[in-house]
């Protein structure tokens, strides 16, 4: 029993491959190639890579939204085959129902997971408050700024009390200042109960600032290039962004990603 509890938020990915059949041809395209990764319970793992490296695909597979060609994903020892209440996903912009209010959008997730009717409104409101949108509970998404919409997105994912929080470039559509504020906010919320968090981004600073570990992915086909432990104390503050350690991590990650791009260009030059 105690074994189960300890394993509940631990995600294991073994030799995972994901392939697509290209539309209008029989060509098979490998998006993710033999990826292995262990994500400890309560850790914050960020995944970076240039576009097309399969990082979002990998995340969708963890969510159980796309089928695997080979390998396995287990969460708390159980095989992940379809979406489940143990995982919740924060999407990029525009995944909120435009006809529902802020409160209604958070409630939506609870409705889908069949929470009991009597406390559903109260619970949704509590999470709206937690992301600082109490005054905007009755607003519709189009009346909010991009940052506020992502707060709703986060509230929606957290309110169902998942073991693992999956985030697919949640701040990708925001301006630089808002991004920083949102990163701070996300960490503040995450520090409370330290759910296992997996965060996909193409922004290097974001990846270092948020993560305990940064997974660098490369392209053609998508694979794990490096995994870097980020040895910065928590709680993280924006002052750390200019610390020597942070700068060193940034340089290291840039080199990995640049090397990946360079390798690709050489392949293209040969073809």
């Amino acid at each position: 029993m105690s074994q189960d509890v300890a394993a509940s938020g631990r995600m294991e990915i073994r030799d995972l491959s994901i392939t697509y059949r290209k539309p209008k041809s029989d060509e098979i395209f490998t998006a993710v190639d033999r990826v292995s990764l262990t994500i400890e319970k309560g850790s914050f793992v960020t995944i970076v890579g240039s576009s097309g490296c399969g990082k979002s695909t990998l995340l969708l597979a963890m969510a159980g939204l796309i089928p695997r060609a080979a390998g396995s994903i287990t969460l708390g020892g159980a095989e992940v085959t379809k979406p489940g209440p143990d995982r919740a996903m924060v999407f990029q912009d525009a995944s909120l129902l435009p006809w529902r209010t802020v409160h209604g959008n958070v409630r939506f997730a609870l409705e889908l997971q069949r929470w009991k009717r009597d406390d559903i409104d109260e619970r949704a409101l509590r999470y709206v408050r937690m992301v600082g949108l109490a005054a905007f509970a009755d607003y519709h998404p189009h009346q909010l700024s991009g940052g506020m919409r992502q707060r709703v997105n986060i509230a929606r994912a957290l309110c169902v009390d998942p073991d693992v929080l999956l985030m697919d470039e949640p701040f990708g559509a925001l301006d630089a200042q808002t991004r920083e504020v949102m990163c701070d906010e996300l960490l503040r919320i995450w520090e409370r109960d330290k759910k296992t968090a997996i965060f996909v981004t193409h922004a290097i600073d974001e990846a270092i600032f948020l993560g305990d570990r940064v997974v660098v992915m490369g392209r053609n086909p998508g694979h794990v290039r490096e995994v870097i432990e980020i040895d910065l104390p928590r709680p993280r503050t924006s002052a750390m962004l200019d610390s020597p350690a942070f700068v060193a991590y940034r340089r290291q990650l840039r080199e990995y990603i640049a090397a990946d791009l360079l390798a690709l260009q050489m392949v293209e030059a040969l073809v």
């Binding site: 489940g84 919740a88 525009a94 995944s95 129902l97 939506f108 409705e111």
Partner: protein, 270 residues
């Protein structure tokens, strides 16, 4: 002190002039008045033959007589009942069918060819057949209204479902939505604006159909009266009925549009 003076300009209510505030209704009313005036003057001055073009004042006089006699309310009632029955049936069939076709590819493939043939052909060509099937009277009229209204609503409903934002579907699935959840909580509410647009188009088609139907297959109703007065060259009387039916259609269209605006309040306004 400084705070007080700085808030003063904000506190002053900026009021736009009367004309600017009521821009739309004023211009619309003016347009109608101009048209009526030109019509009246043209007939009065002999620019056109008032015998064939009628005249607003003549129509007004005719209207007073028709409202008093001519069983005006009864004819309107006859038309309204045909319209209401046909339109209600159209709603009951087109919305569920449109929703189904929106989600079922096989259903779409199966039904699309005959659907499109019927949608683009003028339904009025079926009238002679309908008369044979259903006789002259209510049945044929209801059928023709039904056929007029059913297609625009069905086609728009289908398009609304198919046009659903796939990002919303993915988000719903990630939270474990069943197919029924997705249908009821994402597809149906998401296609409501498209459904209402179809209803608005359907109103126009339905009103047209009831009049045309009554011209040929009825002993009463607005369309029947229009036909009768047309054959007798009594254009003043004819126009009274013509205005009545267009007012009805216009009113209903405006009502649906108001409903659309309400439902769209969650959308960016401009």
């Amino acid at each position: 002190m400084t705070a007080l003076t700085s808030t003063a300009p904000v506190a002053r209510i900026h009021r736009e002039p009367f004309f600017k505030r009521h821009h739309r209704p004023i211009v619309s009313t003016l347009s109608v008045l101009c048209f009526l005036l030109l019509w009246e003057v043209a007939a009065m001055q002999g620019w056109v033959n008032a015998r064939f073009t009628s005249q607003p004042t003549q129509v007004y006089k005719a209207a007073l007589v028709i409202f008093a006699k001519d069983d005006f309310a009864w004819h309107c009632g006859v038309s309204f009942v045909s319209f209401a029955l046909g339109f209600a049936m159209a709603l009951a069939v087109s919305i569920p069918l449109g929703l189904y076709l929106g989600v079922s590819r096989r259903g779409r493939l199966f039904i699309e060819p005959p659907l499109m043939a019927l949608y683009t052909a003028p339904r009025i060509v079926l009238l002679p057949i309908l008369i044979v099937w259903l006789g002259i009277g209510l049945g044929s009229k209801v059928a023709i209204v039904f056929l007029g209204a059913v297609f625009p609503i069905m086609v728009n409903t289908m398009a609304g479902v198919r046009g659903a934002d796939h990002r919303l579907l993915t988000a719903a699935r990630a939270f474990g939505a069943t197919r029924m959840d997705i249908f009821l909580k994402v597809l149906v509410p998401g296609s409501l604006p498209a459904i209402l647009m179809g209803v608005r188009l359907g109103v126009g088609r339905g009103v047209l159909s009831v009049v045309v139907g009554e011209m040929f297959v009825s002993e009463a109703g607005i369309g029947h009266q229009i036909m009768t007065y047309g054959q007798a060259m009594q254009f003043n009387n004819l126009l009274v009925y013509a205005f009545t039916i267009s007012l009805f259609g216009y009113g209903l269209t405006v009502a649906v549009r108001m409903l659309e605006d309400r439902i769209r309040s969650w959308r960016p306004s401009a």
